[in-house]
Symmetry: C2
Subunit: 356 residues, 2 copies
């Protein structure tokens, strides 16, 4: 096909606003002689609960699985916070990740020089930060069986299971090692092997794969508590961080603070053919519809999509355009300073599209 | 008894050095007319593995349970890192916590004004930081059954169970609410209730207890990924953070970075009668025996012990003495700056003892 089939799942809160800007930028790529796209839009998350009584209806899932890529804005919000189990917006997202077989979640963090003042960390601590978290996304305690809740009163109990197979660990470790080869050649694998049996299997498996196939890459192991600490104390020491689903959720959010705004951080979830691309930030219901949301995370997620589709030129063009607009001093509300020029969500999107 | 019976478990690495300084300071309290102590010392951790083939021999456990308090230095080190299961130094520590019924782990973090330059965070971000993590310590995924590992090759699998009963949640939540009443009246309960069933029970139970008995305290809920982020972005917003064993391990280490050195941070583990008091830092084998370790975390842990024994005057005297020595500019290697006066582990301990 000469069109890539892209499913858009704008979702809730600021999702639709930032998604629209990513589409605008992708269309600009086409006009500039780049790849062409056919977009179809579906409900997911809270809006899908309201319309269809299901945060991820089966036909949406099927559309996603048949597409070349899925762009997701954000799901969830206070309106659906009292719902439980499969009716939550978040379970729709988990179902989608699983259905796409998107077992490797990539979350890169680097801090553009012009934004260093926004970091909560001192300037010398963030110098040279350029890290990639590779988070396992379709296993671990998010999906492990058994899970349950039973009993009454003081005796009521609930449980989840953190489970990994060697195969699940190996395939995501492979992704981390491959990225390390393209980057600075260092993988830090994070677990809690001093306490958890599942982490011992994690560590053994990563170590064996390293010895067998990736001895050229440097491999270090950190306990998750120490890793959380090191990310704040000396973030520049990391190249690729490889970890499980729950630890990756926590540590990638810890890393996400380094730049001072979530509004910049993209992610890609890969593994099963169709990739899922979404910003790291949530649905931010408090600012939804006000034109305050930063579309950069979503636009940079679209750039990761272009990379995954093999459209490296277009991906680079999008990233360079975003850099130029930032360097020119334009900022959404999350990054505003007295010196910056303010821009709304759509103004920033339009400027980047024009640069492209 | 007119003597408090204190069991000392100096442990591995820098443990013995810092433990000796805490004892020195406690003896100074006695000489200054304060409480008296009878100390007995036992092996725990790696040294106990080497001597007795067990990181926490039963007779040590029995001594600890019969004491008024246990002071622990640190356990573990590379020498024992390849051991597995019950032979690991860490499993000795877990066994001790469980045997003492020490279900509530208290980890306070505040940043003395004279050390603000050491923080990785910018000065305005850490202004006003004064938080207490209340971590559940004898349940959750650290102890949940079933746990196992089976199969071969790609099919090898391993699992742990994150399990809580309402009763376990309620008793530690009670500790958090009581502390909040003595502090600024705010509890932030951290879970992953948007994904985990065990977290839903956590949230329901905390909420019900709050409504029934602690409606005067402000209660907020955060997801663990967001909490990790907020601790770095706006740490001063927190008063008491209440969370489970694994999340508490990660988040209390994240908070521990705020001051720039682990060497200052004490902890108390309470609940079963005999309290366990240990620094948050580990055994730091790389600097063991060199007089470089900061004894403050251990000394301040001894102050928490004094509080728990009802010796508030002595506890305050120890804390004030530590503050004065820091304000006078004396620092161990972890906190050294060009302007500070350097002190070894024992010099710092001696100065604090003299102040007392
Ligand atoms: C919304 C939630 C289920 C999700 C997760 O925990 O994976 C989010 O925090 C993320 O990191 O993408
Ligand atoms: C040593 C280890 C078992 C321990 C834990 O995870 O509880 C440590 O990290 C701590 O926080 O006290």
């Amino acid at each position: 096909a000469d069109h890539y089939r892209i499913v858009l799942l704008p979702g809730d809160g600021i999702g639709p606003e930032v998604c629209a800007e990513a589409v605008r930028v992708l269309k600009a790529c086409t006009e500039a002689g780049g790849p062409a796209f056919a977009f179809t839009e579906h409900n997911a998350g809270g809006v899908a609960i309201d319309r269809d009584g299901d945060p991820m209806p089966d036909d949406t899932l099927a559309e996603c699985a048949g597409a070349d890529a899925v762009l997701l804005g954000a799901v969830g919000g206070p309106k659906w916070d009292e719902l439980t189990g499969p009716m939550r917006p978040e379970s729709g997202l988990l179902k989608l990740r699983k259905a796409l077989g998107a077992f490797a979640n990539l979350r890169p963090v680097s801090i553009p020089a012009c934004l260093a003042d926004h970091s909560p960390l001192k300037r010398d601590r963030i110098a040279g930060v350029d890290l990639l978290t590779v988070r396992e996304l379709t296993g671990g305690i998010y999906f492990g069986q058994p899970v349950g809740r039973e009993g009454e009163g003081d005796d009521e109990r609930a449980w989840n299971t953190m489970l990994y197979s060697a195969d699940e660990i190996r395939r995501v470790a492979r992704v981390a090692f491959e990225w390390a080869r393209k980057r600075r050649g260092v993988v830090t694998s994070v677990d809690k092997a001093n306490v958890l049996e599942v982490s011992r299997l994690w560590r053994d498996t990563v170590r064996a794969l390293h010895e067998a196939e990736y001895a050229d890459v440097e491999l270090n192991h950190l306990y998750v508590d120490n890793a959380a600490m090191q990310i704040v104390l000396r973030p520049a020491q990391f190249d690729v961080i490889l970890t499980g689903n729950l630890f990756g959720d926590i540590l990638s959010d810890t890393s996400a603070t380094l730049g001072g705004s979530l509004g910049l951080l993209p992610s890609a979830s890969l593994g099963g053919g169709t990739g899922l691309f979404e910003p790291v930030h949530g649905s931010a219901p408090d600012i939804a519809g006000e034109g305050k949301a930063n579309p950069l995370a979503m636009i940079l997620s679209a750039a990761m999509m272009l990379d995954d589709l093999g459209e490296a030129n277009a991906a680079d063009a999008v990233r360079r355009s975003a850099d130029r607009v930032l360097e020119a001093g334009y900022r959404t509300a999350d990054l505003r300073t007295p010196e910056s020029k303010s821009a709304s969500t759509s103004e920033l999107g339009r400027m980047i599209a024009e640069e492209v």
